[in-house]
């Protein structure tokens, strides 16, 4: 292993995080709130980062697969720990709670243990939103974008952090690709910030929500989320941006560089939009009560579909009181997740599509034992190794979801709560059903449940394999 380089890179990452802590620090100054939580965290991050850089003098930047996993896994763990410090130092949360909130932030989950959001310092809420924004497009991708020090092996880090089974470079260089993707991300965030202000949200709250929509995060500055604004236009704007965030950012880049036709032909996009349409219709039919305007029901159904499918987790209605069919739709949406290359979590549209096609091919082979029938996507044969990767992913996803369910159930929660808490964690959605539903939070769960769910969130954000590889004995063998 190239330990020195791994440590060096982690050190740099911590310095970058120290710089980002300047954002809540400025906000605290502006709102005349206490500054020490951010200064303290900054000092810790800067000291740790500087020490790591000083102690490691890498001879080269060659990374082998093992180093790649270590960098990605190590970075996310380090950043999650660091992100917990401001909550802890401010005295708002205890250790497990702070860790849960931080992991839930960076992994763009959006589950919270803060029951009363409005009494928390506004700068701290901004940090909470910012942590989601950073985690959405990826902290390592950000590092690659601004510090192009990775040549050989950099692609592996890129692949580990960008969701989806197949990853494209949109530009010849990795650093340029990372910059393009981040550029689109920043642009969309700014657009939403402006639109929300036009629709009547205060500048600060608009920023916090823009920061948590684009990464499909879901932290809100209100106890009952986006619905509390009570402005239909805001809900439509947020719906639009949640969907945009759930779409592959490579497609956004192509659209912006004038290749719109390619984007429209994208099969995964059509599938994704199809799921949105069908789920919205089912929810509208389920939820509609006679006497209400159909447009209002449609708004609520579309918002909830977009929010859960893209794994954002905002709410505008207490969906726990909806009929069972609607709840099943919500659970299925939780699992499906956004498109590959988006900031959404879950299984991802592409994996779901390919798994279904692979299933069809298997059935075909049962009936025609000698048939040659490869699985195709966009007129290209999908390699067996990609397919087996997808099946392995699904298996691991289910196993981890069951373990999570068991841990929650062991603490006395009912089945719906347990299953939904586990799924919402691994898919990085946010709210669950039952006792952790739309208007509830995770404050009442015991420490062990919080820690378990936080670990599952990390598994989900890093698409399971990275952390799973680090847990294998093979990984640590010399």
């Amino acid at each position: 292993m190239n330990r020195r380089f791994v440590i060096h890179l982690l050190g740099r990452l911590l310095l970058i995080m120290a710089a980002f802590l300047g954002v809540p620090l400025l906000a605290a100054g502006w709102f005349r709130e206490p500054l020490y939580p951010y200064i303290g965290s900054m000092l810790v991050a800067a000291a740790a980062g500087a020490a790591m850089i000083a102690l490691s003098r890498p001879e080269n930047s060659h990374i082998r697969p093992r180093d790649g996993f270590l960098i990605v896994g190590g970075s996310w763990i380090a950043v999650s720990l660091l992100g917990a410090l401001p909550y802890l130092i401010a005295g708002v949360l205890g250790p497990e709670d702070a860790l849960f909130e931080s992991v839930s932030g960076f992994t763009t989950t959006g589950s919270t243990v803060i029951a009363e959001v409005t009494v928390v310092p506004r700068a701290l809420l901004l940090w909470r939103a910012l942590s989601q924004w950073l985690g959405g497009m990826g902290i390592i991708l950000f590092t690659i974008a601004i510090l192009p020090l990775l040549g050989i092996g950099g692609m592996q880090l890129f692949k580990a952090e960008v969701p989806g089974p197949v990853v494209d470079k949109v530009r010849p260089r990795l650093a340029a690709t990372a910059r393009s993707l981040w550029g689109v991300y920043v642009g969309l965030t700014a657009a939403e910030w402006v639109l929300l202000q036009v629709a009547g949200v205060s500048s600060y709250e608009a920023l916090c929500h823009a920061f948590t929509t684009l990464p499909t995060g879901g932290f809100s500055t209100r106890n009952t989320s986006v619905g509390e604004f009570g402005i239909p236009a805001v809900e439509w704007i947020v719906t639009l941006f949640m969907l945009l965030a759930g779409i592959n950012f490579v497609l956004h880049y192509r659209l912006l560089t004038g290749r719109g036709r390619q984007v429209l032909r994208d099969r995964e996009l059509r599938y994704f939009l199809g799921v949105v349409g069908v789920a919205t219709i089912i929810l509208t039919v389920c939820v509609h009560t006679p006497g209400e305007r159909i447009i209002d029901t449609l708004r609520i159904a579309a918002f909830q579909t977009a929010s859960i499918l893209t794994t954002t987790g905002y709410v505008t209605a207490d969906f726990e009181v909806w009929p069972s069919l609607a709840l099943i739709v919500i659970l299925v949406l939780m699992m499906l997740g956004g498109m590959s290359g988006s900031t959404g979590g879950g299984v991802k549209s592409l994996r779901a599509m390919l798994a279904m096609r692979s299933l069809r091919a298997t059935l075909h082979r049962l009936i025609h034992p000698h048939a040659v029938r490869p699985v195709k996507y966009a007129n290209q044969v999908v390699q067996e190794s990609v397919l087996s990767g997808i099946w392995a992913f699904l298996t691991a996803y289910i196993v981890i979801a069951i373990i999570g369910t068991a841990v929650v159930a062991a603490h006395g929660y009912d089945l719906l709560t347990s299953i939904s808490a586990s799924l919402t964690a691994i898919s990085n959605v946010g709210p669950g059903l039952g006792e952790v539903g739309a208007y509830d939070n995770f404050a009442h769960t015991p420490g062990l449940v919080k820690i378990t769910l936080a670990i599952i969130m990390l598994f989900g954000r890093l698409e399971i394999f990275t952390l799973l590889a680090m847990l294998s004995r093979e990984f640590w063998r010399r």
Binding site: G151, I152, G153, G154, M155, Q156, K169, R171, P172, R173, L174, A175, A176, Q383
Partner: protein, 451 residues
Amino acid sequence: MHVVIVGGGLVGSSLAEKLSGDGHDVVLVEQDRELVAELNDRLDVQTIRGNGATVPVLLQAGIENCDLLLATTDSDEVNMVVALVGSTLFKVPRVVARLRHQGHEESFNKIASEIGGEMLAINPDEATVERIMSLLPVPGAVDVVPFFDGRLLVAGFRVRPDSEFAGLMLSHLRLLFPATPMLVVAIRRDGQWTVPHGEDEIQAGDLVYFAMDVAELDNVLTLLGLRKGVERKVMIAGATRIGISLAKRLEAEDMPATLIDAVLARCEVAAAELMNTVVVHGSPTDRSLLIEEGADRAESFVACTDDHEENVVACLLARQLGTTHTFALVDNPALAGLIGDLGIDAVISPRQLAVALALQFARKGRVKAVATLMEDYVEVIDVEAAPGSRLVSAPLAELGLPRGVLVAAVRRGDRLLVPKGDDRIQPADEVLLITKTRDAARLDPFLEGER
């Protein structure tokens, strides 16, 4: 610069690595799925899977705003099509095609002169023959690269314990042998390359590269304690395109040669094409055959069969039988690295030669010639000093050249100089620079002229 490379084999991928390292945007097109996956992980370039001779794939690779197109697949015909599509349909300003067949090369050059535009055919086989021809007159050299139209040689030798150079400090070189102007430009010891300074010492067993005036060659050889063979005779193993072409060149220079090949049909082709060369049917690793044909008395043995492992074995055998100098064709860099110490004088890689030629073309403008010394760690760059560039701004010692960069020689008009620290490079001088390959990009600021 936006560069499109078609073909991800050894040549294509090395070029991609180098050009991406130079800071260009590189898109690599390759058909083989596994190769694409491997290159995509290993190199910082964009890879596209598909047939690079087709328009949609080229469009996807961004051929429309491409500045340089390199066709380096294994097939001459495909390379030809790629190059022609690029230069005619998309008006790519500079195009390189790797063509092994001389006839193809001729057709290509005719078309190129018809179309106009910068088009270059690279023939690795011809380049290999050139390289062998430049090595043969320098017995004992591991590597010989001519510069300045052949007036200056950069040649690598293994220093023998009985050589005058063993144990010598570099700064004493000039004092001890004032009549022989030469400069040590690179040393390889225990697998490590250095571009040396004055306090470094030459040790027995080192591989030392000298830059020297071609007229001084015999003096340097004597100082190195190198001897020539009993008979001025060359044995060639392998009636391949390279083997036959080499034999023809030797015939033209009146050097007696023997050509050995294990396949009768190839021997017949060779015998039909050659006039004075002795063509022998038999295995180049057959001990008694080699003795029969006088390998023990020959000066040089060149193994150029298509099986590169066999080349190594044949050379070792010839060496054991008493051939003074042996040369093997080896493309695999790992294998080439292994055999440095086995006593084979020189390892020649046709593919690396093709890479060097293409790079030379790609970096054209300031750079007249680029050569990479063995294993690719050290690069020799031949440039014309641009007026107003940093290179001519001060005496050498005060230029602040990056560490590990050496000015090996300067040609000013008709004169050849080995410069000292207080010398100044003048505009329009032709300058030979030595640098570690990975530092090559750091030289750029020195080479740029005024805008």
